[in-house]
Symmetry: C2
Subunit: 393 residues, 2 copies
């Protein structure tokens, strides 16, 4: 598959040009067109990504745990594929090859449904992947695509979501509208990849440099992604040692500050550049800015910070910066999110960064896999039982 | 909760009498009424079952695995509750207390929806459980019930299935109709507990006594349950050493035999009592008899047996009786069912028997938990990350 992508690079780039021109004619945003565009360098990255997936250890057949019963039965849980995985995604054509490789490596069949904006690119990538499969001993139908259906997008998705006899799980990757549509219409179990409203909580005991680095990195290292921080919560203990300095650093980095009444007062008293901040509206807490903007709030203590996260967070990723052992433990136990961190940037909430190898995405569904999903999370287990003639009495 | 059940035994028995009388007036089957009926002995069993759940180790907070990244981040997966679990079940009122105890022990809230046939009994059991909770430091709303809704049953279930903001997972336990209805209408992830069409495969290398004991036990030890065998598949190698004898033993035990053409010929040639058997109709393979009846088929070899299971099985539980090492390994790898066994009765496909402690049921959904589900399967994991100031570059 990696070889075929490289071999068919010209055809893929040509097909992609069609999609990009249509997007330009439709006056779509520059960031959208950037995600859509493929060039030889990006196709090489897609091929390399496939090779990285190939290099991962095979999860199938592994017995994760086993035990012996008093009657001598040996019981184990052996990893098996989920079955057929349906991936429904939007504009990025690299998802076509990434998802296909991850599903195949984990022993699954995959049914791909990309967005209509990338239809020519997805077809070209899919043709290359199929050509690769056909040159291998694997069944070529292990990868299939709803890339050619002649209906409007949502109709095709709706039909796909009714195939509960053929597809075992649906993973939607995309905007809120897509996720909601899939959840409402699917008869197949869904693992959602929903938005991230991530928080960094700052405690007074944390060293200044660590606070600055983690807050800045969580917010600004890459703003368009689900694991970027959208709000910074200062415990009262952190106001004197950290608040003014952090506001200044964020503003200086070009981040627009949406301030709660208490932090607003501090910003005014500290004489921070008034163009950097504005009073936070109620909707600013819980907002996924995906931009150089952040909400700032001062709360009394850890319990209040946890309550804030419960109310406004999306249960994706939260991090506390603290040197208080007890508080760190409490934060980890009390915060109900898929990733809970101490003294680390929220940007580490990523399968690759956490050591799972390549990731299919970050699940916000509690069932089956919660948080970053690697290939192991694309498998399930069956019970295997070895006996010597045991019967039940 | 166990104490309160014992204390309110009289009220529960009185309420149950209402349900039983209504069922008798409605001329429902004796087996149905038997499942519905509560008496002091059965209430004591319900209380004891709660105490057994209490004694299980607490799964919450346990870090199942952890590792260290090259940048020093310590990453772990810590067990957390699923959230709120919706249990939708039919006539057995003991499910009310069993499910409530299992969900509570695993840190979850539970929303119970029992069948209308057991409504008075379920209300009485629920009141006792609530009284128990109220005497404890736990929040009484951790257990709630849709036992009092004044609508037809299906309407109430439909409404419950739309509460995706409040309920994290739905577990339906009951007949095919209920399972299908729930799957079609739920916006909440569903873990199905569907039928079991279990197979025992017999190979020529197996000792006669082991074949007889496992076949008989799998079929007859309890016929009304999902892990009872519904078909016995003989490899050609097993025909001479085992077929006639097993047919005779099954017939002698009162099991009606539905025979494929080849086994039919053998039964006739062996002079087996003609009242014990009949030619199998095509529907007899894949049928969940839940009775003293079994389908018998002779196939060429292991591959043909696996193909038979793929076509007619329900992916619940299959067992092979063999002394051929290679065949045993192949069977375990090739059969795609939630429990695959060698030389053991299918009746062991049960959370308690396999060592999970009490079980909430047997999942036939591949996602999240496949096969018997104990309290661990009522939990999920979150990532916990301990750093020392790491940021992403």
């Amino acid at each position: 598959m990696a070889k075929a992508l490289r071999q068919q690079q010209q055809q893929i780039v040509a097909a992609n040009r069609e999609d990009v021109e249509r997007a330009r004619a439709g006056a779509l945003e520059a960031s959208f067109i950037d995600r859509l565009e493929l060039n030889p360098k990006r196709i090489e990255m897609m091929a390399t990504a496939i090779e990285e997936v190939i290099a991962l250890p095979d999860p199938i057949g592994r017995v994760d745990k086993s035990w012996r019963r008093p009657n001598g039965l040996k019981v184990g849980k052996q990893r098996i594929p989920l079955g057929v995985i349906g991936i429904i995604y939007e504009a990025r054509p690299n998802v076509t090859s990434d998802a296909a490789a991850l599903c195949l490596k984990s022993g699954n069949g995959v049914m791909l449904k990309g967005g209509s904006d990338a239809i020519a690119s997805n077809r070209a990538v899919f043709r290359a992947l199929r050509a690769g499969l056909e040159a291998s001993p694997l069944p070529k139908n292990a990868i299939d695509a709803l890339a050619f259906v002649d209906t409007t997008d949502r109709e095709a998705v709706k039909e796909m979501l009714s195939f509960d006899a053929y597809i075992d799980v649906i993973i939607p990757r995309g905007g809120k509208g897509l996720i909601r549509f899939v959840s409402e219409h699917s008869r197949i179990p869904v693992i959602k990849h929903d938005e991230g409203v991530c928080h960094v909580v700052v405690d007074g005991s944390a060293p200044a440099r660590m606070v600055d680095e983690i807050v800045l990195n969580s917010k600004t290292q890459r703003v368009s992604v689900c694991n970027a921080a959208e709000a910074i919560v200062f415990l009262r203990s952190a106001v004197d040692p950290h608040l003014d300095r952090v506001l200044r650093k964020l503003g200086d980095a070009g981040v627009k500050l949406h301030l709660c009444p208490q932090s607003l007062e501090h910003a005014q008293n500290a004489g921070i550049d008034a163009s950097w901040y504005a009073p936070a509206s109620p909707e600013d807490f819980g907002r996924e800015f995906l931009a150089m903007e952040v909400a700032i709030r001062v709360v009394a203590d850890l319990d209040a910070a946890v309550a804030h996260i419960d109310e406004y967070g999306s249960r994706h990723t939260e991090s506390i910066v603290t040197n208080d052992f007890e508080q760190a433990q409490q934060f980890v136990d009390l915060v109900d999110s898929s990733c809970v961190m101490v003294n680390a940037s929220t940007r580490f909430a990523d399968g690759n960064q956490l050591g799972l190898g390549a990731e299919i995405g970050i699940s916000t569904t509690r069932m089956h896999a919660y948080g970053p999903m690697g290939i192991e999370e694309l498998t399930t287990t069956k019970f295997v039982v070895f006996g010597s003639g045991q019967t039940r009495t």
